[in-house]
Subunit: 70 residues, 2 copies
Amino acid sequence: MTTTTINVSGMTCGHCEAAVKEELGALPEVTEVSVELNPGATSPVTITSTSELDDAAVRAAVDEAGYEVK
Amino acid sequence: MTTTTINVSGMTCGHCEAAVKEELGALPEVTEVSVELNPGATSPVTITSTSELDDAAVRAAVDEAGYEVK
């Protein structure tokens, strides 16, 4: 298992958290996503995956949810 | 047409706005819901309806969405 932590900006509530979890969770290697919500700042998002994640794919998934990797 | 304005607390983002709009819009008399989002404060929500709205039903719908009428 690989663990990747990214910082995501713009998340303010549980709906935001759910949207990010859903998009990242749709990546085939991803087995778990946990979010430490920090409204008004960047939120650390920890992603557990079966193999090393492609940085561009992670950024694209977060962007798809409507947020940005900082 | 009747217009009712309520103040809703706890809404922080467009997802919150969508959740409140969805629940209020499900009330049979409601034809339009507009939200002036104020993250960190109460947000005025203006509801247009074909007849006078039941206060308890409005509160229940907002509560169902996960927020509170102030």
